[in-house]
């Protein structure tokens, strides 16, 4: 037998609350959003209250009649109202001295598309809550339609590949950068392959949400929609970071810094080969995708360096 560490992995030490969800909930096997949803209350602790909305999260975050799939207080909302409801909650709890960590839990569809206006408004007003967007780059709960977070070339049901169609014809909205321009009190990108990085950001998010607006952008690939083997989901997250497809960074008051430095980024093929979402891309398509990734990272690097 290999000598055991005998000590529990130190990441467990970050958990300050028991599991809040029921053992069995209806999220797809291998879904990274399930991991995000289960870990978040374990790290944020008690008095976490969240605003959920239609999307992959809702069928579990919201109840069914009187039954609930978890033990937390929540407020359900349609997609247009999430950050505004969080504003109402945070303002009122603040006024009456009620301890609360208000968390919006939405997908990229809500954050970048239909719910963007109120998100931008709440960020500008520096409302004191955490907005957590799990980005699976599309409307996955309704069957993989494209959102403005879908990357160029991606095959979705509304940007399908056919005789003429080659997938999505324009690049994704650079949502983390857009939110950076709001100069939130704190913001970060994170994913579940880099757990400690994610958890530290969650903790910082909680602390900073007492002072102002916090935005967290979580890379959360969809094994079903992207056609990833469920066992490879964490690997996909890791490759997204290692190819600079999804750089891990954070920013306090609009000053970004990279939290996980990737010295030699791998070519984008290392990422796309793990899924069938991009399998139709030929050389030119891959080159375009690589260009998007490189340009985006260059912009980030410029801003990071400008801050020093």
């Amino acid at each position: 037998m290999v000598e055991t560490t005998k000590k529990r992995n130190r990441v467990f030490d970050y958990f300050c609350q028991d599991e809040q969800f029921a053992g069995g909930v209806a999220w797809c096997a291998g879904c990274p959003m399930e991991l995000i949803a289960r870990l978040t209350p374990k790290v944020l602790g008690k008095n976490m209250i969240f605003v959920g909305t239609p999307g992959c999260a809702a069928p579990v975050l919201h109840g069914q009649n009187i039954g609930a799939w978890h033990r937390m207080a929540y407020l359900a909302s349609v997609m247009t109202g999430v950050p505004s409801k969080a504003t109402g909650l945070s303002r009122y709890y603040n006024r009456i001295g009620q301890d609360a960590t208000v968390v919006c839990f939405t997908g990229d569809g809500c954050a970048t598309d239909v719910g963007f206006q109120p998100l931008s408004g709440a960020a500008e007003r520096q409302e004191k809550f955490i907005y957590l967007a799990y980005d699976n780059e599309g409307y996955m709960n309704t069957g993989n339609q494209r959102s403005s977070a879908t990357q160029i070339g991606a095959a979705t049901t509304t940007t399908p590949v056919g005789k003429i169609g080659k997938g999505k014809s324009n690049a994704q909205k650079n949502m983390p950068m857009i939110m950076l321009m709001h100069k939130p009190t704190y913001m970060a990108t994170a994913t579940v392959s880099h757990l400690e990085d994610f958890i530290k950001k969650l903790q910082k998010a909680k602390e900073k949400s007492k002072e102002g607006f916090v935005y967290l952008h979580l890379f959360s690939p969809c094994p079903v929609g992207w056609r990833i083997d469920s066992s490879k989901v964490i690997e996909v997250c890791r490759e997204a970071v290692r190819t600079n497809y999804f750089p891990l960074w954070e920013a306090e008051n609009g000053k970004p810094r990279i939290t996980v430095n990737v010295a030699n980024p791998k070519p984008i093929l290392e990422f796309t080969k793990l899924m069938r979402k991009y399998s139709h891309l030929k050389e030119d398509g891959l080159a375009e995708l690589q260009k998007q990734v490189d340009e985006r990272y260059a912009l980030l690097k410029t801003l990071v360096n400008a801050g020093t």
């Binding site: 008690k46 008095n47 976490m48 209250i49 605003v51 919201h62 109840g63 069914q64 009649n65 009187i66 039954g67 609930a68 033990r71 937390m72 207080a73 929540y74 407020l75 359900a76 909302s77 349609v78 247009t80 109202g81 950050p83 505004s84 409801k85 969080a86 504003t87 109402g88 909650l89 303002r91 009122y92 709890y93 603040n94 006024r95 009456i96 009620q98 301890d99 609360a100 960590t101 206006q117 109120p118 931008s120 408004g121 500008e124 007003r125």
Partner: protein, 399 residues
């Protein structure tokens, strides 16, 4: 009950009155977005906050949809809230209006009636209120600035009653009342506190608390959905008597009665009745008096409660009348009659075969004048005598 002391009389606009009404009720959270003809309410409330007159949380939101969501959430968390809008703003927050009433949040909102997009317009009309009539809210219409103030206070009394728990929309004619300065008695805030005090004596309503395992807005599945909808409609029914009760309590305490669901003016011995709402009722009263001088036995019903529709009070007031004229300041898509007239016509069984004449007037800030109402009285009078009459008349189109 000890009556309130006399308050200060100020000459202020309808909008400013709206702000004073909110201020007197001490809301916890206010959210507002500017829109003509309501912007002044947001400005006045912001000034109150800047001057320390109120300590409410004031959220200058980036859109009306957000305004309603902010106050909905604060209300669900247990707070008293206030917002104001008009027209396009009201329809922009339509999804939030539905959530607010579905979640049974006792939100009080003031709506300065203005024409609703379909045809772009910046003018008075009740189309906005009409377009939201199925949002599940209580809708009340006021006639003058004093009534705006009074109705806001009564609105909290109604909304936050544990028997009701419904959001209340207080309507007033944009442009006519919003910018009209009238003498308004502003009560002492301590007297308003005393009037609303019974609300605090109730057991606390269901509210969202972090750390407590209850969630608001669970999916309504099958009978869960049906049950919640049923409870909502039952609460709507209870609103009617409650409006009358609160009106009486308000009158006893502050000295002003409004009649509750409807106000009946010279209706007892009347042969014919004119039904109107909002600021036009003031004009109508003048016409009623003049026609009475001429020997026409006409009475006026001022419709105050629109949602729920005050069917029982109307049936009682219209019993035995020979003809009815309804003046609508809006239109009903799908029926040729005006909306209030159309809803009244539902009561054919109870009212019998009495002629009900529909008049559409006062759209787009075109005045409902004394001659207009005079004409309505004359035509309804002819109908009462059995003469042929026009089912529906668009008064401006006939001029």
């Amino acid at each position: 009950m000890v009556s309130a002391q006399k308050g200060q009389v100020r000459v202020i606009t309808g909008n400013a009155t709206g702000a004073y009404g909110a201020m007197l009720c001490r809301p916890d959270v206010i959210a507002a977005y500017p829109i003509t003809p309501q912007s002044e309410i947001a400005e006045q409330l912001a000034q109150f906050k800047a001057d320390g007159v109120i300590d409410s949380e004031f959220v200058e939101v980036e859109g009306e949809n957000s305004a309603m969501n902010v106050v909905l959430a604060a209300s669900v968390a247990g707070g008293r809230v206030f917002t104001a809008t008009s027209s396009y703003g009201l329809v922009f927050m339509y999804d939030a209006l539905q959530e607010t009433s579905g979640f049974r949040a006792p939100v009080v909102m003031v709506n300065a009636n203005r024409e609703t997009p379909g045809i772009h317009a910046v003018s008075s009309g009740q189309q906005d209120m009409i377009s939201a009539r199925d949002a599940g809210w209580v809708q009340i219409i006021t006639e003058n600035d004093q009534e705006i103030l009074d109705q806001i206070i009564m609105a909290y009394m109604l909304a936050e009653d544990n028997d009701i728990l419904l959001p209340v929309m207080v309507n007033y004619d944009g442009f006519y009342l919003s910018y009209l300065a009238e003498a308004v008695e502003i009560y002492q805030i301590e007297d308003v506190d005393k009037f609303l005090a019974p609300l605090k004596k109730q057991s606390p309503r269901q509210k969202l608390v972090p750390g407590v395992s209850q969630g608001c807005g669970t999916h309504g599945m099958e009978m869960g959905y049906v049950e919640a909808r049923y409870k909502h409609t039952q609460a709507m029914e209870r609103v009617k008597n409650k409006v009358d009760e609160i009106d009486k309590k308000f009158g006893d305490y502050f000295g002003r009665y409004y009649g509750g669901q409807i106000e009946e003016y010279r209706t007892d011995d009347a042969d014919i009745i004119i039904i109107a709402s909002g600021s036009a009722t003031g004009t109508a009263r003048t016409v009623i008096d003049a026609k009475r001088e001429q020997g026409i036995k006409v009475g006026l019903i001022k419709l105050r409660l629109f949602r729920p529709f005050p069917a029982e009070r109307l049936i009682q007031a219209l019993k035995g009348k020979k003809a009815i004229g309804v003046i609508d300041r809006s239109i009903c898509f799908g029926w040729k009659y005006g909306p209030i007239c159309m809803e009244l016509k539902v009561l054919t069984q109870e009212l019998g075969s009495v002629p009900i004449l529909s008049y559409i007037d006062g759209l787009a800030n075109l005045d409902i004048t004394i001659p207009h109402i005079g004409r309505v009285v004359d035509e309804v009078n002819e109908a009462a005598k059995g003469k042929p009459y026009q089912d529906v008349t668009w008064i401006p189109m006939e001029e």
